[in-house]
Symmetry: C2
Subunit: 480 residues, 2 copies
């Protein structure tokens, strides 16, 4: 491609693409097989990657080998390896081979599925696969035919909150605005809930000060009596409660809000009831963990991220709304008569989320569910839960440590009994080592390390090695 | 994989992935080289794809060949081929080989770039590549270091409108909500603007009835005097104007709003000024088309979609905000002191958009700009504009046809002089043929066909053949 006059329309010839593509596929296979050989947390300093890639805007095109070499030399050092079996930070970001193939195919097709007619397969496969997910996760039957793929749980929760806002205002807020409302709207979630609920309230014009962070109990679950009290208090003060978000697995400690009790309050108070099951929702695939979903049939909306723990590349959040016309009425810019005329025939997902355009994301989830099957997905979940149980046992058996919260599914929160300082020092030592990556939280005011097991290639040897490393690093920290 | 007990952790072995991946790469190369052999518009009936893929949820996993065969047999017929050089509908959805490789690599790495530390390369490459784009498109210098990748222009416009809302309220709306505002907020865009502006106002709690659709002139550009009149009228009525969105290339006819005049009004009135250059913004790469950007330096925010016309796979919208702390102050859920402490060192893009998680999307734009270079991108744009000019000439030379709007860059709107009925019949005949795909609009109340040239492989032969087909189909329609 030295003579750029002849750069092919797609940037390279089909033959060059084949060669580069095969190399890339091979590299990805090698990367994922050997990813544990990398330091987990990128060690670069701020500005280091930028300085490495900085160069003048190229007037003429360059050939692939230069790009590929720069990627390996300058980008890879700036990558924190989420796919490493030694990544125990945040939450898992599951990739799997069939999901990568689905993403590749979607990129190759290059279609935009904003309307049914823009590519009927994009819409129909999506509805179908999300119905499969209803069955796989034993979700309430009224979520059948009522699912849509969103990018993330943040966006799904925003859509849910908007539905709650509009239902409370009888769909006058999206037409007339909120300034006309005599009563300020209020929303409810626990003090352990994900920050996206507050962010959604900021975006939706409700305001974060009108989000009531309902106190949670000792294990981090929302206290329903406090919820009831806050709702009553707001009503007495002339405010209008419109939205409750319960968390199926909090970010800090994977605590489970009591959905049934909260759902009953929501129903009695006629408030939209959303359930955020971003990571833990995947555990509903296993019958033995389905108690976490008790009461889910009371939810107006629910979201779960197969891109976290269900072997499906980021991004793919599955969002369900009971009576989805409440969602389309909230977001659609089409007049009512048009919506009615269309609704029987086809679904136009453009009216089910914030963006207009949409990728063909159902493909990767379809490939994942078919490749693993129900039992394969269950084995994946069960092994992580089993390993988290083992890890928690080792923590309890070591006098220097204590659990910071009851272990929940695949997450163990723990700390050094010596206190916040040593616990924090321990975390930094572990992350600096590059051998494992953990993150932290605060629970009941105290510093806690989070050990989250969820990468597909994480097995018992990785968890054992991690514990050995932790125990060893603790010795050094406590000696200092 | 018949014995599912042994399904590998990533769904297949590395060797199986390599084989399937190579096959897929080859298939994509073949698909894109031969995509014009497919009928452009999918001919399936509603429900047809779903019926074809419908089957019970699989208990055990299946091997790749079954999935691959189902994809080809059941999904492909439901695809409308956006990558066909005979796709002239909506807007282009450019795919190119380096962009596909970037998307593949991003899927293989499987990282989430919500915070700088989650993978510094994701953040730093993004800022760097968006700075390149500032230079490539000759954007105002104050957009340097002030860009972020969003999924779509709809999301970018929502973020811009939220900034306008909060600036007008001195950042009290996101904390206290909008119900406390004495004066209802109003927003302004033209009657030709994209529907996403109204949708954003619905989401943000401003309400679509508080969006003033400023009348446009005969060619579809906003009338600034009408804008000024509406703003004054709203102020007199005690309302608070907060947001103006001008369009650099309207959806219907690619009309250009007079940015400089609108920008001056916005500055005088102290109203946030956003410019939506979703498709046409890419033309700024060519010095000879830069008159469309005259006045852009007055904009508070700007968005352009490389995923439309800049050879970069969907999704990738580039969004710029002058003084981006106004954006983070609008969306961040962090307390101020924390934000200040972080801001000098690194950028945390989580506070620059609606979702929290984010894919590594800068990679594909980096690959595209380096593969094509400035001149390669310019040639791509120029050829489409040249072809649109040719097409417009043929329309004018045929007595049966007329232009429905002045040709603009790569878009020609035209109709049959015989009126709406025959024009509509013509569109349906063309789309039914499968040989080309066009969409329609209404301009000055009349039906118009849109002929939008923007796919990388669309060349003169395709445009000539399309015109021949159109002229022929017109004969049949007019004979009926």
């Amino acid at each position: 491609m030295a003579e750029n006059e002849h750069t092919p329309p797609l940037g390279m010839t089909a033959e060059q693409f084949r060669r580069a593509g095969h190399d890339l596929i091979d590299w990805i296979a090698g990367y994922l097989e050997h990813v544990e050989e990398y330091g987990v947390l990128s060690p670069v300093e701020p500005g280091q990657v930028r300085r490495a890639v900085e160069r003048p805007l190229p007037a003429e095109g360059e050939a692939w080998p230069a790009l590929w070499s720069d990627f390996q030399q300058h980008i890879i050092p700036g990558i924190t390896h989420w796919q490493s079996p030694n990544f125990f930070a945040y939450f898992p970001a599951n990739a799997s081979y069939p999901a990568i193939l689905g993403e590749l195919l979607s990129a190759g097709l290059g279609v935009n599925g904003m309307l049914w007619s823009c590519s009927p397969a994009v819409t129909e496969l999506e509805t179908f696969v999300l119905d499969w997910l209803v069955e796989l996760l034993a979700l309430p039957a009224h979520f059948r035919g009522a699912g849509v793929i969103q990018d993330t749980a943040s966006s799904a929760s925003l859509c849910a909150l908007l539905c709650g806002r509009e239902q409370a205002l009888d769909w006058r807020g999206n037409t007339l605005g909120l300034a006309d409302q005599a009563a300020p709207l209020t929303a409810y979630t626990s003090d352990q809930a994900h920050s996206s609920i507050e962010k959604a309230a900021m975006i939706a014009g409700i305001g974060r000060e009108n989000v009531r962070l309902v106190p949670s109990n000792a294990v981090g679950a929302m206290k329903p009596d406090e919820l009831q009290r806050l709702i009553s208090q707001d009503r007495s003060a002339g405010r209008q409660p419109c939205f409750i978000s319960a968390t199926m697995g909090t970010t800090s400690s994977l605590a489970m809000d009591p959905l049934r009790t909260i759902g009953r309050i929501a129903a009695e108070e006629n408030i939209w009831f959303h359930v955020d099951g971003a990571m833990a929702g995947t555990a509903l695939a296993c019958p033995e963990f389905r108690d976490i979903g008790d009461g889910l049939e009371l939810a107006d909306s629910f979201c779960v991220n197969p891109h976290k723990w269900m072997l499906t590349n980021f991004d793919l959040d599955a969002f369900y709304v009971r009576q989805p016309q409440r969602l389309t009425r909230t977001l659609s810019i089409l007049p009512e008569y048009l919506r009615a005329a269309q609704s029987d025939e086809v679904v136009n997902y453009r009216d089910w989320h914030i963006p207009l355009g949409r990728r063909f994301r159902a493909l990767k989830l379809w490939f994942v569910i078919r490749t693993f099957g129900v039992e394969g997905i269950r084995r994946h979940i069960r092994e992580h839960v089993r390993l988290a149980g083992e890890f928690a046992r080792w923590v309890c058996e070591d006098d220097r440590f204590e659990l910071a919260a009851p272990p929940s599914l695949n997450l163990v929160c723990f700390r050094l009994k010596a206190g916040d300082g040593p616990s924090e020092a321990l975390l930094h030592a572990l992350n600096r080592s590059g051998r494992i990556h953990l993150t932290h939280t605060r629970l009941s005011g105290g510093y806690a390390l989070r050990f989250c097991i969820g990468q597909p290639r994480t097995g018992e040897p990785h968890v054992r090695a991690a514990w050995t490393l932790i125990a060893e690093a603790a010795r050094e920290v406590l000696e200092d």
